[in-house]
Symmetry: C2
Subunit: 552 residues, 2 copies
């Protein structure tokens, strides 16, 4: 029978090529969108670059597929599919990695770089940036064994469930086993990466950090963190003193229906410019998830608690900020190409925090929100819903040892502490078995108290369980960037506060689109912020913002 | 910089192999399911067979991923993602096809077949069957150009939307353009397939049919269709006469809330044995979709009409029958292997029609349902909800020209007519431009009247728009098989009617599990039916069933 296969290969059904072509050039069906030439498909004069573009088109498609599969995993999948879905997602990551680790890519890259060097006029700034990002991506993959990538993908998804269980049961013993594996695996992956600056003493951690923040440097981060820490630690006692001179915020009472909260959150997202034709808002029992693609940006927040609407609103605005960035990326021209993607976690968090914290906690925003909240929740004249009280509730500073309920001012301390710890875990200086002691001691040092249990301490965050070593710094760097961007935006649009009082985000949306979203990865983060603000990334604007908001 | 990549490949971070292994042999995380050895992963003595098993594990994973992406496409995806999702799904089909068309597979297959031939004792019946199905799958792919597969996948998903629009606008012109492309494309794909019996005069159509019904033969189908057609056409006038002697069924009035219908449908599915831990029931504005995997069987039915609960119940029972089959497949031992899959459309439709039509329209089932429906819909003593009236409503015979609202008796005529037409389309004897005339003429011949519009005629079905040429026959063959299986089941479990009156499906479920679901593709359809019933697939049981139900 097999023989038949071989014989028939030369047989009658081997139709001439023109018949395939006829079938492939079928009449355009009714609804087909006119395919205008895009930069992704445009034939560049350098053939190797065209080859790379098609490889990365496929890589980008795979990322989009992984996004959808992961979203489904967290929100809609029946629980019985858990084990097989882990295998499917890990398989996709492996296939994508294999495409990126193909040795022929190094040759294409070499050709394309030579071409760009010798024929600079054939390469516009977008193509050059795309090639730069192609190289960076290849460097993250080329030497890493596929088994490690597959394993990591599986454990990262498994980790979400493991974390839920160890947290519920305060089960350090099981947490330790899992984290030891995760740390070991990430050390190995980092060792295999072929990035620049691999001679840095903390090269491993920097390499992992760069998966989230392309091109980030530890020394830059250290300088920023050190300076900001010293300033904010001076401010905190002053802020607490000023706060104690004001009346305490009035807590909300009674029930805020989940349905009304959900309606409000969607309405606010619409106002910020989120396009529900290309995305949506969903609730889940899990932690929130950011992500998606410009055409399919499905934001997932935790199911609302009924005692207050401020927590689910915070999540919606935060994820909404991520979503707006994703939706604004240059999807038509550069859909799946590296240069069409976001700039990574720092810029992403800056966009989320700009909407959620910088804008979404301004008094003018609460002026807009307060009377409407009275209507949405059918509570005319509820004294907890005045603009003044909402402002106080959202901007109350404390020294919680729980990161997720931390305020804008002390949040940095949580990030700083976690960053110090994870660096030592990845370098090997701190063993996972010693994590609880180290955590508790630092908690005392940073917050003046130790957690009562590991669940309240070193198990509280999901990050390490999903392999996000090197992600924490982006919250703080993103916060700095958000404040800096707001200053620049205010210079261009001085009437932002007035507009916020009207619930008007139009000019803000256009500004962010033009300056950030539509730029994709045309510039790297450092250059982008210099272009927009005229300055390096710095913590000065954030300190001004903190003083302005909490000491006035 | 590129030089650096090359230099560093031999550098310090190239860690010894044992460190990778350490990272890969991480301690088992908390929730990890104990991985018992399964036949899928068991090391067989023939290495080429093991290679094939791993290729097909990946192919099966890809199928599962495509299922999830397709389900999401039809139910949850925001509309703005339409174009890019088409590209993603087509890309997955192409990658899967490329894995199946790898020339090395032919060598593995050749080796494994030789091994099986020379060492029959090393191959149990499951491994032998798996190898047979591996070969069949490879034959469907090995010579087909990847471009055609990618194109087909894209058009098949696009076709669902195209069909919705041409149907709504009765737009034959656009429908014709799209169908011409689809026919041409499927002719080409069929030509490239490397199946047995490729010398059949209608080899193309038979090849396409075999994508849905592995190993099916046109001559067998012709014999069955001819015999059944002649018998049922004799019965129809008798049935109509008998029916006219009985009172007409009383139509339902008022509103049956969608929520209550949905609750009822889920409750009935639970009773039939559907496992909601590994699946679910969903509603959509589109046509129903069957499919999924044994761990993730998400059934999708059309959003309920509020004027009757019988239509959505029919859909739920039908899709439920598909779902039960999928959930019962040998997922532990043979998860992604070909032998662990379903036997294709005939057996699938037999399972759906057995639950929906054979069992779900028995008077005893309505005895169980009727009083409970009065409760679910809060209509005590509604005369339309008596068991007798429900039976009459569901078993009323007419001569509708609309397939989807056709009754059990005349449904075959719709299938027969479509089968004749699509054979001619694929052979080229009938041109798409002549389809409306051919359709209308046959409609007159089969049903005594012509449709008023193409939307009511040749555009009514989605099948050709999604490339399902060769699927229609499975409805009729599946119906025959369902009746034959019911007879066999009744011999083993004579008290089925009594049990149905109690809403008890337990014995039925066990019987189907043991005889069909758990067998996967151990035997091919013809052999399976012979094993279970002692006879060839035949229409005799169906004719007995029709006489029994409609002429008693």
């Amino acid at each position: 029978m097999l023989k038949k296969i071989k014989t028939m290969t030369a047989g009658w059904w081997k139709k001439p090529q023109d018949r395939i072509e006829k079938a492939l050039n079928l009449p355009k069906p009714v609804k087909a969108v006119k395919s205008e030439p895009t930069k992704q498909y445009e034939a560049h004069i350098c053939p190797s670059y065209n080859e790379l573009k098609m490889v990365f088109r496929n890589v980008g498609r795979m990322s989009a597929i992984i996004e959808t599969m992961g979203r489904d995993f967290l929100t809609a999948m029946p629980q019985g599919a858990y084990v097989s879905r882990l295998g499917q997602i890990a398989f996709l990551y492996r296939r994508q990695h294999e495409d990126l680790a193909e040795p022929k890519l190094v040759n294409f890259l070499s050709d394309a770089k030579t071409h760009a060097h010798d024929n600079p006029n054939d390469w516009d700034e977008w193509d050059k940036a795309n090639l730069r990002e192609i190289e960076a991506t290849i460097r993250h993959h080329i030497n890493v064994p596929a088994e490690l990538i597959e394993k990591r993908a599986r454990l990262a998804y498994e980790g979400r469930h493991v974390h839920r269980d160890v947290l519920k049961n305060n089960d350090w013993e099981q947490g330790q086993i899992f984290l030891e594996g995760m740390v070991e695996l990430h050390q190995r992956i980092a060792d295999y990466k072929n990035l620049e600056d691999n001679d840095h003493p903390e090269a491993r951690y920097q390499a992992l950090m760069r998966e989230f923040m392309p091109g980030a440097r530890l020394d830059t981060m250290d300088t920023l963190f050190k300076g900001y820490k010293s300033e904010v630690e001076t401010l905190i006692p002053q802020i607490l003193a000023a706060q104690s001179a004001r009346p305490n915020p009035m807590q909300m009472t009674g029930v805020f229906s989940g349905k009304s909260q959900f309606w409000l959150n969607k309405a606010l997202l619409k106002k910020t410019g989120f396009d529900f034709e290309r995305g949506g808002l969903y609730e889940t029992g899990h932690n929130p998830v950011e992500g998606g693609t410009p055409d399919d940006t499905r934001l997932v927040i935790k199911t609302a608690k009924i005692g207050t609407f401020l927590d689910s609103m915070k999540s919606a605005l935060h994820e909404g900020g991520h979503g707006l960035y994703i939706q604004g990326l240059p999807r038509r021209q550069w859909r799946y190409q590296p240069v069409g993607q976001d700039l990574g976690a720092v810029v992403h968090e800056s966009q989320a925090l700009l909407i959620e914290m910088i804008l979404g906690r301004k008094r003018e925003f609460f002026d807009y929100l307060a009377p409407r909240a009275e209507g949405v929740f059918q509570r005319f004249d509820d004294p907890a819903l005045t603009s003044e009280n909402l402002w106080r509730l959202k901007n109350h500073v404390g020294k919680s040892i729980d990161r997720k309920s931390a305020d804008e001012v002390t949040y940095f301390l949580h990030v700083h502490m976690r960053t110090q710890i994870e660096r030592k875990l990845i370098s090997g200086e701190l063993k996972v078995k010693d994590l609880p002691d180290a955590w508790n001691q630092m908690s005392k040092e940073y917050f003046g108290k130790k957690p009562k249990t590991n669940a309240e301490g070193c198990l509280q965050d999901v990050h390490w369980f999903v392999g996000k070593f090197g992600y924490f710094p982006s919250y703080a760097l993103g916060h700095m960037m958000a404040a800096q961007l707001y200053d620049a935006m205010l210079r261009d649009i001085p009437h932002i506060p007035t507009q916020l009082r009207e619930g008007e985000f139009g000019d803000i949306h256009i500004w962010l689109n033009n300056k950030i979203y539509q730029k994709g990865r045309l510039q790297r983060t450092d250059d982008l912020i210099r272009t927009i603000t005229g300055e390096e990334l710095s913590y000065k604007a954030l300190i001004r913002h903190i003083k302005n908001r909490y000491l006035n």
